[in-house]
């Protein structure tokens, strides 16, 4: 069993990612995207550089033109995307999209394009405001060799910019399973509405009206759609946990610096034990998050049979701590933390979106208990 420390190469990935992201994709970049109402929701320049760094190819096998590197390495990048609030299609394409295609097995041919950064994807699964991957009203009706799809999806991250949508549906002929289809964003009958989000990032609702798909667009083997989706969601949630860790950690770091700078009553506010103890507790909670996130990432690489339980453990814990860290961050910054001019507000906004995506703390605590059979 691997030790719970980064290997040398994982550490190098982390350092080079930090180097790049803090320089090019920090909160200032997000502010610019928001204030210029950039319709793409990310900087093409930043994304191109990520591609050049090989990030979209990390999780893709060498046979499909990828690096076949580890979830642990990708998780370091995701954590730092949390710390910097970097906007890009990386998560939806290189984590979620690449995993769907790899695990689905039937559309491997697209993977080299993903690895090369020439194709972006978005997962369109939820239909209600609260995550429920099995609550699918979208229907597939068999028509000749293909299907006709009808339904509506919400909270589709990057749905407004991705080349392809991965859409979950149910067919009357296989009511127990979930079918996953690859649908071009510009297919006839697909209507996309970008949603203005609190974190100023991309999300969309997708209406699917009589959209015709061929059998070849189906991603999952017959009978394996639900299992594939669950595996993808485990992967997604572990990487979201890494992002939440990054958010919490950066919120805390900024707060700690402020505690050492801001003076009231003639002394640094960090000299007040009331704040010290809260900072110490928060630091401890973040240390716990570091451990579970690393463990869950390793499990994706080495023991996927534990990935479900560890994914829910990690998401439940990081949701709790990111909420605490972002709330404490604002409170300890005082009035200045409430102003839009100051960056700390961007972190609480992003935190809540990541918390909610693919299940919040409550969802994953419940799932944890279910997986533990109680």
């Amino acid at each position: 069993m691997q030790k719970l420390v980064l290997t040398e190469e994982e550490q190098m990935v982390r350092e080079s990612a930090a180097d790049f992201l803090f320089k090019k994709a920090g909160p200032g970049a997000l502010r610019e995207i928001r204030d210029t109402a950039n319709p793409k929701g990310f900087s093409s320049e930043v994304w191109l550089e990520m591609v050049e760094l090989g990030w979209p190819s990390i999780l893709i096998g060498e046979a499909q033109g990828g690096l076949g590197f580890s979830h642990v390495a990708m998780g370091q990048i995701m954590e730092l995307c949390g710390s910097t609030l970097a906007c890009s299609p990386l998560f939806s394409t290189a984590v979620v999209g690449a995993s769907v295609l790899s695990l689905g097995g039937d559309r491997l041919a697209l993977l080299p394009k993903v690895a090369a950064g020439n194709l972006t994807l978005a997962l369109a699964i939820d239909e209600a405001p609260r995550h429920n991957p099995q609550g699918i009203a979208t229907r597939a009706v068999r028509r000749g060799d293909g299907y006709t799809l009808n339904g509506e999806k919400t909270f589709v991250v990057d749905g407004n910019v991705a080349d392809y949508l991965v859409v979950s549906v149910r067919a009357d002929e296989e009511p127990e399973d979930v079918l996953l289809f690859l649908v071009p964003r510009d297919a006839e009958g697909v209507a996309i509405t970008k949603t203005e989000m609190v974190d100023s990032r991309n999300s969309a609702t997708v209406q699917i009206n009589d959209v015709t798909v061929e059998s070849v667009q189906r991603i999952s083997h017959s009978g394996a759609g639900l299992a594939t989706l669950q595996k993808v969601l485990n992967i997604a949630n572990v990487h979201l946990s890494a992002e939440l860790l990054g958010i919490a950690n950066e919120c805390f770091g900024r707060t700690l610096r402020y505690l050492n700078e801001r003076k009231q009553f003639g002394v640094e506010i960090g000299s007040f034990q009331g704040l010290q103890h809260r900072a110490a507790i928060l630091w401890t909670e973040i240390e716990l998050c570091k451990s579970i996130v690393l463990k869950a990432l390793r499990a994706l690489d080495e023991s996927p049979e534990h990935a479900g339980l560890l994914a829910s453990t990690a998401k439940a814990k990081t949701c709790q701590v990111a909420e605490l860290a972002s709330n404490e961050g604002i409170q300890m910054h005082g009035g200045i933390g409430m102003t839009d001019e100051f960056d700390i507000g961007f972190f609480i906004k992003r935190a809540r979106v990541v918390q909610m995506l693919y299940g919040d703390r409550r969802y994953h605590l419940n799932r944890y208990a279910e997986l533990r059979a109680y």
Partner: protein
């Protein structure tokens, strides 16, 4: 049995109490009749932020009814029910004022006038001001003619309010004021400011402060709105450059402003503490039922069900505590217990909005003006403004518990 039976005798003998109860009942009946006859139907709807009548020179009434209701209430002095009649108030005693509140609540009559004048500087002038100041300002406040803002915080003095640096130089019959205030609510809308300034730099920081009043149209006053994480806000930065303030506009004595400031902070705490109760709106349980539905008669997310019930239990206890504190109130007001009300109320409000965010799911993450999403972000400021939660806990531990 001894003490016990003795006490029963005393009660039966309390005839005076009964007499005053009868008077109060008559007041209730006449009040109810008057309200029924004079409160326009449109002023009996639950009030939202946009419906508030804040008065002032620049205020534009949203309807004839709104103006009519203000005028009728102001005529009776019921915009400020407990102020003396001679200063435009209603002259009601504590119990009568409570009856008026109850009767207004029973027909969901809106408050005819709200703001810093009625709640903050009015009571302070009444308590500490000269007779001239009372005559000048109180009737105007009660009639809703002048809107006020509060110049307290400065960039360098937030929690440490007494560390303020705005400087007032003595020029004989007036001061010349220079400095910067932040978090001035509605400074860009208000007509007058009550403002803490330093009138003596030589003494200890609490001793050299005065509370002064000036017109916002005075030369040298500039207000600039602040954008918050929740979007546009009522807060401003206010810059004061060589502003002339007459000495007659000092409330209380020069260099005695800190006493009045503390008095006002108590009022403010109590006001903000009430925020957690969100009266007149639907309960959190109802909102939860609407948002996520029931299955087998229970909210369909068991964790949220527990969290909602826990919140409602705490909220009920907090509301009852505000009621109890008011019922126990002495002539000095609620005093330091307002720190508890403020602390708990703002924490409750933050918890409430976190729960609303959870109930709303991804829908609650949409960014639109005037939504709960913005109010959720705005609620984070509740435990900062009007004295942080940490300051409230300091007040409780030092002044109530005698620690440290």
């Amino acid at each position: 049995m001894r003490d016990f039976c003795y006490s029963l005798v005393i009660v039966t003998g309390n005839l005076w109490g009964l007499k005053s109860l009868q008077d109060l009942e008559e007041f209730r009946v006449s009040t109810r009749r008057w309200l029924e006859e004079n409160c326009p139907q449109s002023m009996r709807q639950p009030i939202t932020e946009q419906d508030i009548c804040s008065g002032g020179r620049r205020f534009v009434f949203q309807s004839d009814d709104q103006k009519l209701w203000l005028d009728r209430m102001a005529e009776r002095g019921w915009t400020a029910p407990a102020w003396p009649l001679e200063y435009g108030g209603g002259g009601l005693n504590h119990d009568q004022a409570k009856v008026l509140r109850e009767e207004m609540a029973s027909i969901t009559a809106r408050l005819p006038l709200q703001g810093m004048g009625i709640s903050m500087i009015g009571p302070a002038i009444l308590e500490f001001g000269s007779d001239a100041l009372k005559k000048q300002h109180l009737p105007q406040i009660a009639r809703g003619e002048i809107r006020w803002c509060q110049g307290y915080s400065e960039p360098g003095s937030g929690s440490d309010l007494a560390g303020l640096q705005t400087r007032a130089e003595d020029h004989g019959d007036h001061f010349i004021v220079n400095g910067q205030k932040v978090w001035t609510s509605n400074a860009d809308q208000a007509d007058w400011m009550f403002c803490l300034v330093r009138t003596d730099f030589e003494v200890s920081k609490h001793a050299g402060i005065s509370l002064v009043l000036f017109d916002m149209e005075s030369a040298g006053v500039t207000a600039r709105p602040i954008r918050l994480i929740s979007g546009a806000s009522v807060f401003c930065e206010t810059f004061l450059e060589d502003v002339r303030v007459e000495k007659s506009q000092v409330v209380g004595d020069v260099n005695n402003g800190w006493t009045i400031a503390k008095y006002l902070l108590t009022h403010e705490r109590e006001m903000i503490g009430g925020i957690g109760t969100a009266a007149g709106t639907r309960t959190l349980g109802e909102l939860a039922t609407e948002a996520i539905g029931l299955s087998d008669g229970r909210l369909s997310d068991e964790l949220l069900r527990t969290e909602v019930a826990t919140w409602e239990v705490d909220s009920c206890c907090h509301q009852l505590t505000m009621e109890r504190v008011r019922d126990e109130m002495t002539a000095d007001g609620v005093g330091n217990t307002s720190a508890m009300i403020k602390y708990y109320g703002t924490e409750m409000n933050k918890r409430r909005f976190e729960l609303l965010m959870a109930l709303g799911g991804s829908d609650a993450l949409h960014w639109k003006e005037g939504t709960d999403t913005q109010r959720w972000l705005r609620s984070k400021g509740n435990s900062i403004e009007g004295g942080t939660s940490e300051i409230q806990l300091n007040i409780i531990s030092k002044r109530i518990l005698g620690l440290g």
